[in-house]
Amino acid sequence: MASAPEMVFPTSPADAAAAFGDGSGVTVVAGGTIVMPEISYGRLEPAKAIMLTQAGLAGVTRDGTTVTVGAATPIAELVDLPAPLGPCAANIADREIRGQATLGGNVCAGAGHDAPRGDLQGALLAVGATARSAGAGGERSEPLDDFLANRGGRLLLDVSFEEPAAGGFAALDRPHTHDYTAMAVSAARAADGTVRVAATGAGTHGQRLLSAEVKADDLAAAGDAALADVTPHDDALASAWYRSKTLPVLVRRALTQLKETS
């Protein structure tokens, strides 16, 4: 490192938001699983680093049917949540990484160098999660879709969602030596009957599969329709061709689970 970075150890969410400011020149460190290799390999030299370990942003809380997950909550604490979030969390990397990596780091991760990131984005989009963040202009709550589209300069504080009436999760299998899931599909039925379907790994970040949602009652049609919503890409884990062949299968599997659990 060229010079010692300014280190900040906030002890409350308000302190963290104040230290973050508008985010310019700030490196946020929570679990460290994404940012530490960048630092160790010299690709990133933080001028100012905010350590979220003691910032009071960890934990899962329930208020009636509303679930709120703090940004610094380790992914391991999400594996018992209802589908699609629980199975999605359990599918991330391995037990040690899940104990260290946080929801916020996973949700806010940029596109990976050679593999998709942001496993939880799809599951959270499927349950219609709301993201609460701090940054320029103060605190803001918005649908996760909007947050993902414009998350530069924002510090995620927590996500919240209504427990779904039913959920499904299907992922491409992977050898245990590959941390990243090549592609996964989450589906959820809200209490009011709304069905949402979303994918991770079908594009540069998680996205809703709106064309599949409108055909959710017809499994085959929904799977094929999903292709209209994505632009599959090549990376180290899978080709665009393979993704386009398997996305309909994952959509059908996730929606089948949805039917079986309702």
């Binding site: 530490m36 390999y41 037990r95």
Partner: protein, 170 residues
């Protein structure tokens, strides 16, 4: 900044964004955690942080705080090996040895948390660890033996031509 490793407190010179792995190996000379991929993919650097297995390459030392770090050096001594060390020896669960430190720390934590001899459960717990000598069968057998509470006579393991734990080798 202070760091407690294997029951000893150390005053550190490294900055808070230095990885725990680099602090252990480069500043403290504790070399059982291995620098494999240094991006969280191999498990060779796994140590215990307050009893929980963590990748030391991914942990900024500034985030460790008051937590107690345990490495292989803190598990046992050559004269008094920990159960997991005895089991890895008896079952020949190491070949080149590069993955062994991380695997033993993960295995030690697995059994300490009440893990059973169930093969699938062991494979899930050790799923972040890569052994390129393809030694998983013997590793899983060793962890299962610890979970069962097997005891070993290592003098016999090393000397016996009739050992049953390594088929066909005399």
């Amino acid at each position: 900044m202070n760091l407690a490793v294997n029951g000893t407190a150390h005053e550190l010179e490294s900055g808070p964004l230095t990885s725990l792995l680099d602090v252990l190996r480069e500043e403290l000379g504790i070399t059982s955690p291995k620098a494999g991929c240094e991006q969280g993919g191999c498990g060779a650097c796994t140590v215990l942080v307050d009893g929980e297995p963590r990748r030391s390459c991914l942990l900024p030392v500034g985030a460790v705080g008051e937590a107690e770090i345990t490495t292989v050096e803190g598990l046992g001594t050559p004269e008094n090996l920990a159960a997991v060390q005895q089991a890895f020896t008896h079952h020949y669960a190491a070949q080149c040895g590069f993955c062994t430190s991380g695997l033993m720390m993960a295995a030690h934590a697995y059994v300490a948390h009440g893990g059973t001899a169930d093969q699938d459960a062991i494979a899930e717990a050790l799923g972040g660890h890569v052994c390129r000598c393809t030694g998983y069968v013997k590793i899983i057998a060793a962890v299962a033996a610890v979970a069962r509470g097997d005891s070993f006579d290592l003098a016999t393991t090393a000397a016996s031509p009739g050992m049953t734990n390594i088929g066909g080798v005399r």
